[in-house]
């Protein structure tokens, strides 16, 4: 694979390709023309070709795409052909919701433990995942090969915990707190800012007549 920077726009589209390919597999579809795939996705065929060409192509002239093969290749590109160990910090409703989200396990994301500072929550289990005291977080990360920490705690706590995570060897933070985290470059931060998502929805509702849906 060529060494080049891939834009975040493509990285946003790949999981969606992956999801549709997974649905096609579930429906027993073995191959699909680039035109059919483009129709299904609501994206131009040339956009799909361009996106996939960044990773070496995968389509064959006159045949289209082998669904299972393309699914597996995109899975490899996304790094979900192997297991990622995760802990969730914050055993509130969002933390519990993540613990109960069985879809992750299927995609190689394994939530190993929840952590909370509230002693009354420690020892509880959600979907078979136990709540540990926050004081044991750093040791747990080191001993259990944890790669990703999901933060479902309020803003101030998220900033504080992110600082504690810096020297633990984790590779990514999945941040649900309504703030931007400042961590060294070798830790990837993926934000889920729900208030901002809601504001985009509001904007697009208020401005429906003004071409607000334009990509």
């Amino acid at each position: 694979m060529e060494e080049r920077a891939i834009s975040q726009a493509i990285i946003k589209r790949l999981p969606r390709y992956y999801r549709y390919l997974g649905e096609l597999i579930a429906q027993g579809v073995e191959r699909i023309s680039s035109n059919e795939f483009s129709k299904l996705m609501g994206v131009t065929a040339s956009q799909i070709r361009q996106d996939l060409n960044n990773f070496g192509g995968f389509g064959q002239q006159g045949y289209g795409y082998n669904v299972k093969n393309l699914y597996e290749e995109i899975g490899k590109i996304l790094g979900i052909d192997r297991v990622h160990n995760i802990i969730v910090v914050g055993a509130g409703n969002f933390g519990k919701a993540l613990a109960g989200y069985s879809d992750f396990e299927r995609r190689g994301f394994r939530i190993k433990a929840l952590f909370d500072r509230d002693p009354s929550k420690v020892g509880n289990e959600y979907n078979g995942i136990e709540v540990h005291p926050i004081s044991g977080m750093k040791d747990y990360i080191r001993e259990n090969n944890i790669e990703i920490v999901a933060l479902t705690v309020p803003k101030a706590a998220a900033i504080e915990i992110a600082q504690q995570l810096v020297d633990t060897g984790i590779k990514g933070i999945w941040n649900f707190a309504h703030t931007d985290l400042k961590v060294p470059k070798d830790i990837v931060v993926e934000n889920v800012h729900l208030s901002e998502s809601m504001m985009r929805l509001s904007y697009n509702i208020v401005n429906r007549g003004r071409g607000a849906g334009r990509k």
Copy 2:
């Protein structure tokens, strides 16, 4: 304001500007130069100027931005200077988490009710918000001026409920289900696809060396 289409990229940045301006207000900052604001946001000053020029500017040469004024103006652009009534369909952990998210109320998003098909959940209250039977959803929407429906139900249920919503007069769907919803153009859909967010995180972890963070 000029009638023109605003790109979704700008619409993604506006809520972030809004969040930082809110933090500045909380800190008692009254005005900020475009350079300081740019540093704080990690975005170039010309980017900020360009973005805001789409809506008429707001900055003054030699003065910078009036923080409170810009905050209010962006709030108006985002349509959060007025109240949006919301219901949440699905009283599972995600639904409960949304009901408990007090941040929304502050920004003009008022969650009025939860709905669920499970009779054992009906009548429960979370953060003072009651769970209603799903059979009453359409009437409730019409009688309570509901503008936005958040769907925190599994994929198949989300597709089914989205169809029921088509003729209710709602303006937007906040979709947490792992599927794309097909609804008429006058209903805006904002997706929160957590699995896809997790896959982007995975990609960026696996490809850290390859310029994966490029915007």
